[in-house]
């Protein structure tokens, strides 16, 4: 039995991942924005076989409250073996271009709130000397594109922060996993037209659980995004800046 903290537990990918932890009989603590949905998800995970499910509503942007919140999760679970940070929003790029306040709000949610929690969690896991910190970043963080560079740069900041944290926590024996999903069919992307590159949350969840088990550092999900992003990253900027992406 693992003790797992899920942050942003009402997100489709986190929920699908939680179902896999539940099926394995793990003990779970869920943090999410919507209290009603959290309690439904908690009951569901209990039925699916979780040893025990705790949950609490939280506001990711209340940075000052993070230490107490994480301490409470730690005390309730009796330790944390795995933390999955999955919360996030998909910014309206055009609106952010017109209004910095929106960009700031998006950065707070998608980058700084994650970094705030990672600061506390990093210290805890370092002292503990074991465990897994898994964070959902995005393929969008690999290269800036005009269609969503606010989201991309926030996720890019998270990816770089994790890279440094991994380097720092390696001697302590802590796994730091950066998860980079491609297109995933979730409520967050309900408005998009879906094509063959789209994956369902459960496929991504399966990949996350496997990456944790195999002590991976960075994982693209589904795997073929590794190749797509290799190509996208390798296009020279002179050409890339002309692309309509």
């Amino acid at each position: 039995m693992k003790k797992v903290l899920l942050i942003g537990a009402t997100s489709a990918i986190a929920e699908a991942t939680a179902r896999r932890f539940a099926a394995a009989g793990d003990r779970l603590f869920l943090l999410g924005r919507n209290a009603e949905r959290l309690s439904t998800i908690a009951v569901d995970l209990q039925v699916r076989g979780a040893e025990k499910v705790h949950h609490q509503a939280f506001d990711a942007n209340d940075f000052a409250g993070h230490p107490d919140l994480l301490q409470k999760a730690l005390d309730t679970l009796g330790g944390i073996d795995v933390v999955l940070i999955a919360h996030g929003t998909l910014p309206d790029q055009k609106a952010c271009e017109k209004d910095f306040a929106r960009t700031l709000a998006e950065f707070n949610t998608n980058a700084l709130s994650v970094i705030s929690m990672l600061t506390w969690l990093g210290n805890h896991f370092e002292a503990q000397g074991s465990g897994t910190i898994a964070v959902i970043s995005s393929v969008a963080g690999d290269r800036g594109r005009q269609s969503n560079y606010v989201y991309g740069s926030a996720k890019g900041a998270v990816s770089l922060f994790l890279q440094g944290l991994r380097n720092r926590l390696h001697p302590a024996g802590v796994q730091v996993l950066t998860i980079k999903p491609g297109f995933v069919d979730t409520p967050m992307t309900a408005e998009f037209k879906k094509g063959p590159l789209w994956a369902v949350p459960d496929t991504v969840a399966e990949g996350i659980v496997r990456a944790i088990d195999k002590h991976r550092n960075v994982v693209y999900l589904p795997f073929f995004w590794l190749f797509i992003m290799m190509i996208i990253r390798s296009v020279p900027e002179v050409i890339f800046k002309r692309a309509k992406l």
Binding site: A23, E36, R37, I41, V43, D44, R48, A190
Partner: protein, 430 residues
């Protein structure tokens, strides 16, 4: 958004709502709305201008380890029920030929399985469900509470309201495996005899070659099964295969299908073969190929499933198969089964007798053939399954489903006729 049923015909543009909680669900102010689960009904029963996609209403709400009673939201798929409960020694009381249907869909279509002759329909194991009515109010329906709504909604094709959650009983198993016997029948007489001989078997179904004629008309493989008792409760580890492209329309024609059928029939050498197989290939042979519906090409396909009463069974079935064989249309894996008694639901399909289901690629000349088959089926006192239907006439429907008026009146009484309407309900005059 473009949507279609499993048969991929017709394709329509619809507005799709994806509620994340039952509380965020709005039915008022719409006049052509229908709930949709995994879209596995073949025809147009889940098609409407407004579609309520229940994919995110997929939570378990309670489970009683003692009795095997489960309560879940309507969007939970039967695949999830199996994934969660088979390892704990529980199985679906009734399952259709695909596990990729939701609990809500299973109730609305009043699905049956290979054990209909002993265990009835899925709804016969449903204790109660919660239904959102046209006025937005939610009521509990069971055989004791709002019983009329219960019997209209089970089999009611989503036309009475939106099923939000359901409570139903699972059945105890001591193995994820099935002890199967495969029996070869040279023609229709033989397979009818075998059905009679094995009527006490829990599961029975026959694959039948609808293209062979003469002495071998109706040659079949009857598969009967019982849950094994070996204590192995593991899920299948096999991953499904994708069907990434549409096969060109003419790939499946009378020659290729006839060749396939001959190979399939002759693959089984002995008259009687016993084996133990996992429940996945036994119940869901086609679930292993995702999007197998692309096999029939871009034009799409339909499945024709009818039932005829026992007294007209053998001769009636022979007549119908002869007509199908003569048409040169029809599919591999046509399925024949003996049904038990009908239940009390208004529009439930199964009734005592014999049912045959087969796929047809959508092409010129198909619908006239099916119209002719409709006439034969109804002259014999039978009817056609709504969950597969995409083209039946209003008159045919009303002849086959004697309680349609009672159902229609209930819809009017609850105001459902002003909100819950699908392409199918409009076509059938409901």
């Amino acid at each position: 958004m473009d949507i279609s049923g499993w048969g991929r015909y017709p394709v329509i543009e619809a507005k799709v709502d994806l509620p994340q909680t039952p509380g965020s669900l709005v039915v008022s102010g719409k006049d052509s709305l229908v709930a949709r689960g995994l879209g596995r009904s073949y025809g147009d029963s889940s098609l409407a201008a407004h579609v309520l996609d229940t994919r995110y209403l997929d939570h378990f709400l309670a489970f009683d380890e003692e009795t095997g009673t489960v309560t879940c939201e309507a969007g939970v798929s039967l695949a999830e029920v199996l994934r969660v409960f088979v390892p704990r020694g529980w199985f679906l009381p009734v399952t259709p030929g695909t596990k990729f249907v939701t609990v809500g869909g299973a109730i609305a279509s009043d699905v049956h399985g290979k054990n209909h002759h002993v265990d009835g329909c899925f709804s016969d194991h449903v204790h109660s469900f919660r239904l959102m009515l046209a006025d937005g109010k939610t009521v509990t329906c069971s055989r004791d509470e709002n019983a009329e709504l219960f019997h209209a909604t089970a089999g009611g094709m989503g036309l009475t309201g939106v099923i939000l959650e359901a409570t139903f009983g699972l059945k105890r198993i001591n193995s994820a495996y099935i002890d199967e016997i495969v029996l070869k029948a040279a023609n229709l007489d033989e397979v009818f005899g075998l059905f009679a001989e094995h009527q006490s078997a829990t599961y029975s179904v026959a694959w039948i070659d609808c293209l062979s004629t003469g002495d071998s008309l109706g040659r079949s493989l009857l598969m009967v099964g019982e849950h094994a008792d070996d204590g192995r409760l593991e899920l299948s580890r096999k991953q499904g295969l994708p069907m990434p492209v549409d096969l060109p329309g003419p790939t499946l024609n009378r020659y290729t299908i006839s060749a396939f059928n001959t190979l399939y029939y002759n693959r089984v050498q002995r008259r009687r073969t016993e084996r133990t197989v996992h429940y996945e290939p036994f119940f869901y042979p086609l679930d292993g190929i995702h999007n197998w519906n692309r096999m029939y090409g871009k034009a799409g396909f339909t499945q024709y499933q009818f039932v005829i009463p026992p007294e007209s069974g053998l001769e009636g079935m022979r007549d119908i198969i002869r007509r199908i064989a003569a048409s040169g249309k029809g599919s591999f894996l046509a399925v024949l089964k003996a049904f038990g008694d009908a239940n009390a639901n208004h529009l439930s399909f199964p009734m005592r007798g014999y049912t045959l289901a087969l796929d047809f690629r959508i092409e010129d000349g198909l619908f006239p053939l099916l119209d002719k088959l409709d006439a034969v089926v109804h002259d014999l006192g039978g009817r056609v399954y709504l969950s597969k239907d995409v083209r039946m006439s209003e008159a045919t429907f009303k002849r086959g489903y004697a309680r349609w008026k009672e159902f229609h009146d209930l819809r009017v009484r609850y105001g459902a006729d002003r909100v819950f309407n699908s392409l199918q309900s409009a076509r059938l005059g409901l």
